[in-house]
Amino acid sequence: MTSAAVPPAPVGDPPRRRGRPIGEWTLAGLLLLPNLVLLVVFTYRPLIDNVRLSFTSWNISAPVAHYIGTANYVRWWHDPNSHQVLINTVVFTVATVGVSMVLGLALAMLLDQKLRGRNIVRSVLFAPFVISGAAVGIAFQFVFDPNFGLIRDLAQRVGVTVPDFYQQPHWALFMVTVTYIWKNLGYTFVIYLAALQGRRADLDEAAEIDGASPWRRFTKVLLPQLRPTTYFLSITVLLNSVQVFDIINVMTRGGPQGYGTATMVYQVYKETFVNSQAGYGATIATIMFVFLLVVTLVQVRLMDRGRQT
């Protein structure tokens, strides 16, 4: 980001810089205005409107929403579905963030070597990240299909029975988690690889000459160098995986057994557009926003602290 902003100068002060500051301000204003208008009207305003709706009872097909105070929040707190959804969200997010970052780093270290065909491997690994989640969901429906799916087929050959991934909630959650990790791995991998290629090789060599063990070189030399990347990834991957909707909708529609694989995003969708309880949906979206805000603020704070040391 840009360094220190210019403190606002009171009107009438002599220009402190070369050129024509007032003209520059006008130009800046003109350039920024459409951006700010769009963001304020179509993101900030809806977000605030969402908070307002969270205090109402509103059937999405009805024209008016009735103010009901904090009733929706109380309902959320006592709703057993919410508890399951909250657990699903935490499991799904922690697993996808953790596994895709660890595997991404491992793959990046593997492919950081000079290897014939490395570019092809890199492109192939990266591709799933840019494929539409809906298409990925369809591909993995067939991988996990209980009748002719790839996994059932492979397991049969070695004589293992596989669970029905679509009927048992825990396995269904496992299924969508694996699918999203498959899609997201390419992202953590290429970002880590770029960081590895931009690092200072001399530090690693110096540590090697000093006789440090490979593990110590990894933990004491490599990981600290990758820290900014790790923070960046932990924030972006978390923001993305908390919001996964396409894969879950295509593969399980939030089921089995009602809320088996539903995360908070899915619950918002289901309450709003399936159950027509848009007020309650808005409440869940607001709670989700607050959670996300708190978690990312903590992460950003940690990142800033990490940078100073």
Binding site: N35, F42, R122, V124, F245
Partner: protein
Amino acid sequence: METNKTKWGLAGASVPIMLWTLIPIVWIVATSLKSTTALADQQQNVFGNFWPKSISWDNYSLIFTGGAKDLFVPALWHSIVVCLVATLISVVLATFCAYAIARLDFPGKKAILITALTVSFFPVIAMVTPLFNLWRILHLFDTLPGLIIPYITLTLPLSIWILSAFFQQIPWEMEQAAQVDGASSWQAFVKVVAPLAAPGVFTTAIIAFFTAWNDFVFSSNLTAARAQTVPAALNSFTGASQFTQPTGAICAAAVVVTIPVVILVLLFQRRIVAGLTSGAVKG
């Protein structure tokens, strides 16, 4: 380190990784190329035997000219129009914004950058219901502009972020030199800065494009039949087909929607990665 043995070891290790990544993709391509009879025969769908014996284009003709035409062709058309228009507008506006932030002196610069970037922390789903409500009042529900607008605001923070990072690396002295030579700000921008900025702008456009192209949340909730894009249409296939299971057609549609982004990755992978990491290094 550079012995043949470690090289082969690494090559060996990357084989399972490649398989893990490729099998689902190959599977979906294979399924899209099967005739209905081949799809019905279990023996021809098991692992090791799932590549079609004879390639059939039935599924592709089904979605482009056959029974699924009315669902798929408009959706593909909507995807292309909506994403290109949204990408164009978003990147142009973000270029203005990033230029102002990188180059001009004005108060409140940091506040403006924060205003733009904070949006990326908003859950998209929290904006869907209010937009749905607003679109109903403005008659924008299930229209192309009703999807273009959210896609602009979806990609705008991302584009501003990437472009600001790119613009900080541009040698701005050249612009000053042009201005000393008598060019106006605008002329200096068009003649000197734009060519230098073009690669960054192009990269941003690619990333903005596939972000919009793959969106599912807005498309599935803010459109119905008249403005639906392909990712949402893929889901309508599965929903509408409980009894017929047009597996092949769904796979064909999924392959078609994937082709453009795969081409982008193969051609511009380095740029895309550079764009995605521009924030990682600088923070």
